[in-house]
Symmetry: C2
Subunit: 410 residues, 2 copies
């Protein structure tokens, strides 16, 4: 064996041990590893669900430095590849990583609190929203359902398609709120307007819907005109902090994740101010089974300013205002399926996305959609719908049967 | 006007102003006041719902010193009487008092935390339980339903009687837990055993039920023999901290109120240890719309060691163990009705209770039952059923339709 070969072998052995150390850190997922030099090995003895192909040596050091951002950026740039089923790979690594960390509680809780020190001002919120939601309606149209609903669907039957499950979700929210014709509903963070339009069309209510995203509001206004409900729905291009009307129902689907812990009590005070004493409110948000900071790669590349609360943290919206929590439902597995379907649609349109943006963008979004699905599948991420009423409102449904029977309940 | 009359008038004017000050403190309820000297006046201009008859002057000073304990003790001793509808009186004063205090949040929250500094040790828990639950089964039989269920009923139809609503509650809990024949259920704090017996009889499961109360366990064991389910139900006279079996379902109905904030994470760890990874758990507890210490009169005379958490505080049971909250339901108005019915039954048996104990005992319990109903009616008190699963359990129902349809769900 000449000196060159011997040095290569020693180096390879060192690299392998570095990777094994990294894998221990992420909880030894059942995957295999292929290095740039062709060296291939399994992390555990269990059959690997897929292979992580590390194409360049520096990817190891990036991941050792910061596991989440390191992996995310290296995967996006193509320094790392996944051979085999991408979703299976990301599910398995997420499962292993979260199981490894299942015992830590106070550390993550403290990190979550520290997050609150950088509150989202209205200007920063606008910037954050612009970063994600103003990527272009053409982009989102490629993989969302026809109504452009970019939140967790509700598969009320296992056979439901994504489009059907999104309509079921809109209707599930409306039922919970017990909307009556002629009522006024305020929506905070309305996306492309699907819920606002559905409420106006099918429940004959007046909707005032707030959103910070220029592109989304433009689209939503067009839709209102096209559906002939523009007399009943007004889309306001503004921050939730500007809400100053009174309403019978307050609803917010998928906005709380962008509000930030430090502003939860502000949001609560705004809801308190606008919701009539006999009204009902619903906040639908991604949550965590325990407090933690949001994944650093997600914050850096996907959702700047985002923070996913635990249910306990979410109570900071309600308790200072003494709202009564009527009903909390967890739709975690629905969101795992929703994200998996989005990823499927996204993959089918990957060539178009590559032409619109870049290969790096495609890989980044693949990781984001797959990672989200894996988060919900593993249980790290959850989706809670919280129905609430102002303190002392006794005009609330006695049972929840009305949400499931065909009658509108009493 | 002679000197005596003039001094009497001046004194009476002073007393009236003291009472008015007290009434401002409790939020000016729509009641009238009658003093020991016959002086009578309304607190507000609205028609009074009932009259508070202050029979002795010292009652005013007792209430000025400590409003809750002062009123409670003076009412119990007969220094204060209520002329008119007692429940209407207590509802109105509770409504006024809580509305007056609706804006304070951090003060009560801190007081609630300070409460946690005196944890309930097993010995203290046994003493606390003995104080309330060992008053004698004969006493509770006078006003509870035939199954001796001493927790919130579930009026699934408005016409339901108390007995029917208690059975509906037992069944509602069983449905949520999706019990299957042959499974093992652990119950923490089983009262007189109604739920444990119902589960064994109607769902064919094995139940291990813990309770610290000698009288209750003796009664429950008799019932198990009488119903022929003693092979499937074992009642253990011990603290929840002694639970060491494994189970498919964990359930606790109305015990958390006695656990005390400081022991919430201990309870969570015990549940985590005993519940199988694919199991489900349910904790049913009185909660508050916001954190606060428990009423001092209640702690002194009715429930020593008791602490009613807010939903946020209750999360201290679940989040350190990363339990996934599947479903939270608020049965507040059901409990207002349950307590009102208990009060009715209690009044019908008041003579018997007086013979068993004393007039003071009758008045104390009238205030406790009426005050509880008023707490739920006003919204200060709530009743939350929290259904949860161990972290990563994906074998959970996708929708909650199974709780309301006749099928047992999928």
């Amino acid at each position: 064996m000449d000196v060159e070969t011997s040095r290569n072998l020693a180096e390879s052995d060192f690299d392998r041990r570095l990777v094994q150390r990294l894998m221990r850190y992420v909880g030894n997922p059942h995957i295999s590893i292929r290095l740039w030099n062709g060296d291939e090995f399994q992390v555990t003895e269990a059959p690997p669900v897929a292979c992580m192909h590390i194409r360049e040596r520096r990817a190891i050091f990036e991941m050792l430095r910061t596991s989440s951002v390191g992996f995310g950026e290296c995967y996006s740039k193509g320094l790392i590849d996944v051979d085999g089923d991408f979703l299976a790979f990301i599910n398995e690594t997420t499962r292993a990583y979260t199981r490894k960390r299942a015992r830590s509680y106070y550390g993550p809780k403290t990190r979550s609190l520290l997050y609150a020190l950088r509150p989202n001002t209205p200007v920063r919120s606008r910037h954050n929203v612009h970063h994600h939601y103003d990527l272009g309606n053409d982009f989102y149209r490629l993989w969302l359902d026809e109504r452009m609903v970019y939140t967790c669907a509700y598969y009320d039957t296992p056979e439901a398609t994504l489009a059907e499950a999104q309509v079921a979700k809109l209707e599930h929210v409306c039922r919970k709120l017990k909307l009556l014709p002629g009522q006024t509903v305020i929506e905070a963070g309305c996306g492309w307007g699907a819920l606002a339009l559905h409420m106006a069309e099918h429940h004959d209510v007046n909707v005032i819907a707030y959103n910070n995203s220029t592109e989304q509001v433009a689209y939503a206004r067009e839709q209102a005109l096209a559906k002939g409900v523009d007399d009943r729905v007004s889309f306001v291009l503004d921050d939730y902090r500007s809400i100053d009307q009174r309403c019978d129902a307050f609803v917010s689907v998928g906005m709380l994740e962008h509000v930030g812990l430090a502003n939860f009590s502000t949001l609560g005070a705004i809801v308190k101010r606008c919701l009539k004493p006999d009204g009902l409110g619903l906040i639908h948000s991604i949550t965590r089974s325990h407090s933690d900071k949001t994944d650093p790669w997600i914050v850096k590349h996907i959702f700047p300013g985002g923070h996913i609360p635990s249910l306990r943290e979410m109570m900071a919206v309600f308790e200072p205002q003494r709202f009564s929590i009527l009903d909390v439902e967890n739709l975690r597995l629905h969101y795992a399926r929703t994200c998996a379907t989005w990823l499927q649609n996204f993959e089918a349109a990957a060539d178009t996305v590559r032409d619109m943006y870049s290969e790096e963008f495609v890989r980044m979004w693949r990781l984001y959609l797959g990672g989200s699905s894996a988060g919900f599948q593993s249980g790290t991420l959850q989706l809670h719908q919280v129905l609430f009423a102002p303190y002392g409102n006794n005009d609330v449904p006695l049972t929840r049967e009305y949400q499931y029977s065909d009658s509108k309940g009493t």
